[in-house]
């Protein structure tokens, strides 16, 4: 297998601005097949912008993005059939029930009836939403909502999954559950790109990229990064602070 083939997600020198705001200032990253890649950065670093470009919702102003070797914004939408997105915002239909949301998105992905039934069964099981199928989505708790969003994104068995701050507003117990669930998916061969502002979550990833003011300022395995900056891996939070401090010091 060649190196290019194993790169499920790739950004090449991507720039994107909104008016005067430069959200991404030349970001390159690659996520290998079966990898959990953590995109870590403070508010406004450009994490969501990177996710939106990879899911084809935005086009880069410069540079390029590929998902499984194709342009995610291609009008044919080949990438869409193999990519799942759990956005940062709550973007399901709040006035539809859990079941209705699942059925709606399954129809858009063209799942057959028996296929849908099987998928529904399995996803309700792993997300433990089985008891809440009749509940309106906007009546779910934060954690349950994220799980429903995850279930909707997994219906069509995507090869790659993008999760934008999936544990935002989720209690610690549900957060752990959610991560266990994600690791289960990786065992099945899925590729994950997860953005998070939490360092402890970053430490759970195979590799992390530190995004700061639209630039990727460090990348590597969490342990290696910690070692390189002389902090203990359990105190991953300091890694980020150390890198930013050094960078800002150099700039000054």
């Amino acid at each position: 297998m060649s190196a290019a083939e194993t790169r499920d997600l790739e950004l090449r020198d991507v720039r994107r601005s909104f008016g005067a705001t430069q959200a991404l200032r030349g970001v390159s990253l690659a996520v290998r097949q079966g990898e959990v890649y953590g995109l870590v950065g403070p508010d406004g670093a450009g994490k969501t912008t990177a996710m939106r470009i990879l899911s084809g919702l935005l086009r880069p102003h410069e540079g390029s993005a590929t998902v499984l070797g194709v342009d995610p914004a291609h009008p044919r939408g080949e990438a869409r059939e193999r990519l799942g997105l759990v956005p940062q915002r709550n973007t399901l239909y709040g006035d539809l029930s859990v079941d209705e949301n699942l059925h709606f998105f399954a129809s858009l992905f063209g799942l057959s009836r028996p296929d849908f039934e099987a998928r529904r069964e399995r996803l309700l099981h792993i997300t433990r939403l089985g008891r809440f199928t009749e509940r309106r989505a906007d009546a779910l708790s934060g954690g349950m909502y994220k799980k429903l969003a995850l279930a909707c994104a997994l219906l069509h068995r995507p090869r790659v999954l993008l999760l934008d701050e999936p544990t935002n507003g989720v209690d610690p117990v549900s957060r752990r559950e959610l991560w266990e669930l994600l690791y289960g998916l990786v065992h099945e061969g899925m590729t994950l790109l997860v953005s998070t502002p939490y360092m402890d979550e970053a430490a759970r990833c195979h590799r992390v990229g530190l995004l700061y003011e639209g630039q990727l300022i460090a990348e590597g395995e969490p342990r290696a990064l910690a070692r390189a900056h002389g902090v203990s891996p359990s105190d991953f939070e300091s890694v980020f602070l150390a890198i930013i401090a050094r960078r800002d010091g150099r700039a000054a």
């Binding site: 869409r80 059939e81 990519l83 973007t91 129809s107 858009l108 992905f109 909707c152």
Partner: protein, 378 residues
């Protein structure tokens, strides 16, 4: 089933569920139009009857009393006061108590009998042009009628031949013989309500999807924007047809609006018209980020569309260059079809230009909206 059909059905079902669950939207779709049809049908009354009138009779003679009596005998003018001088009549006008004051001068009878030509003064409140012109008209008609009878009497008295050739105007009103405004106005109101309801529902519905982020979720699925648009439009086409049906029933039972032509033709025109209004709603939504913007945009479109449609005002009353503009207004063509089919029993052979234009606008609007929507995605 074909995957596109599965997607289409899913969007329709979703749209229906969301609509049915939103009580405010349901009210907007069903109750509001009916209530407005009632209220507007009664309120928008162009018939001018029983204009409040003051008579100042300073002649106090047999002739002046006879004139006043015949003037007030019709349905147009209604006596409500008999002040003794012009000044108090002017006060009544100013206070809005009366719209017209008729003043018979002291010398009225004398002048008339002497054959010098007598005059009656009509003071009119010009702030309501329709009423005042109708009132002036009534007085003028009366004066003309009196003049011709007086002329004949005079001629006879002087032993001459009465003038032979007189022109009399005999007018006959076609299609709406009782000259009832409601019959004419109700189809217009139905078109207007349909415009308001469907444009707003559609523009705000799509703007809501953008505002709440569901649109993004849709954009990462293989759903095509054309299928999404068609799916969103379909339920409201049906609702619009239902609304027109209701409007026709209320129109018939309450206001006596006839149905002389084909119901099928009305339905077809409605479908084409709704394609325009719904397409415009979608187009407005593609240019709006929030529901509020969509709402404002909707009104900015609807105001001129109603004003330049001939629903409320006659198209003959507006300048020529504006009349050209009304050709681009689907409301105008739909109202013409409704009035034609309902009141005159017109068929496709009379109304094909309107049908052609309505189809053109419908396809154009939906097409542009879908294209624009596609472009605004990334």
């Amino acid at each position: 089933m074909h995957p596109l059909l599965v997607q289409y059905r899913a969007v329709v079902v979703k749209e229906v569920r969301q609509t049915v669950r939103d009580r405010r939207v349901m009210a907007l779709l069903t109750l509001a139009p009916l209530m407005q049809l009632f209220v507007l049908g009664f309120a928008v009354n162009f018939d001018v009857r029983r204009v409040p009138t003051a008579v100042v009779d300073r002649s106090r003679s047999v002739e002046s009393r006879e004139h006043a009596r015949t003037l007030l005998a019709g349905d147009t003018l209604r006596l409500i006061a008999e002040p003794h001088d012009e000044r108090s009549a002017a006060t009544l006008l100013e206070d809005g108590e009366t719209s017209v004051a008729l003043v018979f001068p002291p010398s009225f009878e004398k002048d008339l009998l002497r054959g010098d030509g007598a005059w009656v003064q009509a003071l009119v409140d010009g702030s309501d042009p329709v009423r005042s012109s109708v009132a002036v008209d009534a007085v003028a008609r009366h004066a003309a009628a009196r003049a011709s009878t007086l002329g004949m009497e005079q001629a006879r008295r002087l032993g001459r031949e009465p003038p032979r050739s007189t022109v009399t105007l005999e007018s006959r009103v076609l299609y709406n013989p009782a000259l009832e405004t409601a019959v004419y106005v109700v189809p217009g109101i139905a078109a207007m309500l349909l415009l308001i309801v469907t444009t707003l529902i559609m523009s705000m519905g799509l703007a809501r999807e953008r505002e709440t982020g569901t649109l993004e979720q849709l954009q990462v699925t293989p759903l095509r924007s054309s299928v999404l648009m068609l799916g969103k439009v379909t339920p409201f086409l049906l609702v619009g047809l239902l609304d027109v049906g209701l409007a026709l029933c209320v129109g018939a039972w309450v206001f006596g609006v006839p149905l002389r032509g084909s119901l099928l033709l009305v339905a077809l025109a409605t479908l084409l018209y709704l394609m325009s209004t719904l397409g415009t709603g979608l187009l407005i939504a593609t240019a709006s980020r929030t529901q509020q913007q969509a709402f404002v945009g909707g009104f900015l479109f609807m105001l001129p569309a109603v004003l330049l449609s001939g629903v409320m005002t006659s198209l003959r009353a507006i300048p020529d260059w504006l009349v050209w503009l009304t050709w681009l207004n689907p409301v105008r063509h739909y109202v013409e079809v409704l009035r034609g089919v309902l009141l005159k029993g017109a068929g496709l052979s009379d109304l094909w230009p309107q049908f052609l234009l309505l189809s053109g606008f419908g396809v154009l609007m939906l097409g542009i909206a879908t294209r624009r929507f596609h472009k605004t995605a990334a």
